[in-house]
Amino acid sequence: MNQDLKALLVRLSPQLIALASILLLIFMMFPSFFNIGIQNGRLYGSLIDVLNRGAPVALIAIGMTLVIATKGIDLSVGAVIAITGAVAASSAVAGNSLAYTIVLALGTGLLCGLWNGALVALLGIQPIIATLVLMVAGRGIAQLITEGAILTFNDEGLIFFGSGSLAFLPMPVVIWVVFGLLVALVVRRTALGMLVEAIGINRRASMLSGVRTSVLLMAVYALSGLSAAIAGVIVAADIRGADANNAGLWLELDAILAVVVGGNSLLGGRFSILGSLIGAMIIQAVNTGILLSGFPPEFNLIIKAAIIVVILMIQSPRAATLLEFFRKAPESVKERT
């Protein structure tokens, strides 16, 4: 067990180091960054804000990790956030019970995922095209549900998922942490993880070994839809309304980035949900850091891109060999420092 933990730390060390250095960088500019206080029975502070704001990306990164592990991709998650947000909002406006609303929204997300999964697993359509269908159509569907307007609601129960708190933590943080741990546990305590990795590395060989490749692929896309639905509910609850045009816009790209920054290969195979979650936090920390720094907003995306390029470069295998090269000549390095 101890050895497994060590292996996990080694695997996640680039992500942890990247996260730590970004937090340190922000701390050096804003010494108050790590200040955390308690107000109204919940924790407040920039760090908590990072965890809270990062919830949607963290959630969809969980499903995306498994999809990418099967050598797939899910571009529709942003649109699914819009759809499920719209479903939750309209259900709340119609006066349905909270449980009914949540089940309806999550069910819709599952259905969206199954649709993607069916296109990929049963019809054999390339994942990027198959999920593009829903990515494009999804916002249209969401607009149909909200009838083109921003649908606001006042259901306190639903709003709780966006701005409530549990055990001093904002509700979104509780949700993504619990959901992430749950999925990671289920995947690793059962054989799902290994079978998903096998499909991603060699689908035909897995099929020939008796792995139910189609069923598992459907399940993985369904999980991605479910993750997006949870994120959709949180996003809607946060703004107390459903914005079909902007909810979850471009979040699929952030989620893919989180998975990659988390050290997972887009070519499928070995994956780490924990890595993706740290990746999501890295991205959110960068976002928050840039906002705090007060750069003109037009610089934000460029700075974010630059930081991510640096992180990806540090992670690349070539960088590792380069580092090895410098370690072989420690004298020259020492002289400079």
């Binding site: 305590r189 059962t190 054989a191 799902l192 290994m194 079978l195 990795e197 096998a198 590395i201 060699n202 035909r204 060989a205 897995s206 099929m207 020939l208 070994s209 008796g210 792995v211 139910r212 598992l216 195979g269 070995r270």
Partner: protein
Amino acid sequence: MADHSADILVASEICKSFPGAKALDNVSFSLRAGEVHALLGENGAGKSTLIKCMTGAYARDSGALMLSGSTIDPRDTLAAQQLGIGTVYQEVNLLPNLSVAENLYLGRQPRRFGLTDNRRMNRQARELLNGYGIDIDVTAQLDRYSVAIQQVIAIARAVDLSGKVLILDEPTASLDSHEVAMLFNVVRSLKKRGLGIVFITHFLEQVYEISDRITVLRNGRLVGTHDTAELPRKQLISLMLGRELAQTEHLARMTSANAGEIRFRFSNFGKRGKIKPFDIDVKAGEVIGVAGLLGSGRTETAEVLFGVDHADSGRAEIDGKPVRIGSPRAAIEHGFGFCPEDRKSDGIIGDLSIRENIALALQARRGWSRPLSRAAQNELADRYIKALDIRTTDREKAIRLLSGGNQQKVILARWLATNPQFLILDEPTRGIDVGAHAEIIRLIEDLCDQGMSLLVISSELEELVAYSSRIIVLRDREHVAELQGERISAGAIVEAIAASRLPEDA
């Protein structure tokens, strides 16, 4: 070795180490102009490393290289090519979506007014290939042609670029016998033109057919260089292995002849467009051999039996009870196992560990919710690593890092772990080294003795004859003959394949 003046390429005392392993230890090698020199050794003996040191793909640690009497030091394969050393690999290194002519002249197309002169390029390509006895449409896309033709095109390009030394790294691994004959004609004509040719292969028949001298490597050391004519096959094998091979031939057939009752019966089984309906009865404890030329329906037979292609006619019975085999999963439920021919694309899960690869089929059968514990997986992996003598540093190594023979053993272990009743092996010994080859044959015989039913497809007839109790002969996607008992011999198989052609010829 006496006539040094004729040596075109001399490598002396080459050493090369990788982290944790000495891949080449003071290996010397000389190649004469106008000879075919076979470079042999088990997987991991250092053949590829030696080749890569000679072509500049690896930087050697020490030792010297001389080409035509002058010292050379190629930095990379491109430099070696320009010096005159060309290499053709097993997997053709050409661009399948370009035309034949473009492949031949890629990077050096004839130009006119700064533009590619397609007409001249196509004419030159046609002339070049005519020199190899090939007359094809050079403007057609490369992947329209068979691997054998592509192989010759690769050779033509390499010789045209380099022209002194040609290195062929397992060029015949995926060719059938006609194609090998064609390739060898090309090699012989190049030999006459005075090229030195290094030939790496696992097929010993081919070594004796084409090579003039043989150099054997073992564990990174030079074992010796011999004239082919003076080295009997048995001695060659013992040089490669460092030990004598036990003679197991013909013994197995005696034991498997007294097989048990019919367990698996397939009647009128077939799939349109893949394989004509056939009947097979498999008894407990017998090996059924399947022989036929490439494309005769051997793999199709296996895939229909295993449910990869859903049979559209006939029925399957196990112990007299009808069963439906609609998918590999259903086949596995009924105790089937299948080692596919194309190990890389259909067998191994490259990035997963040996442990996971072995556990995969068993785990898939149990379902995702009933995981094999890590301890159980470890036990399983260790047991088969030991039982099948899988050479690896540990069970957590990714399977793609193993040699072909060891990968094959892992795939076999994957099926043995499911405790199968009926095992289908498609070319279980293709592309693996002599040692692993003998071990896999021994394993087939052991399994059969334990009462397992096997169906083995192989293009090595001697091998089939050695362990099969019956042999089914295929041609043109049809089962044309079944040989039993005394009638089983390599000659009889060849006759059966040939005889069945007669009605159509007449």
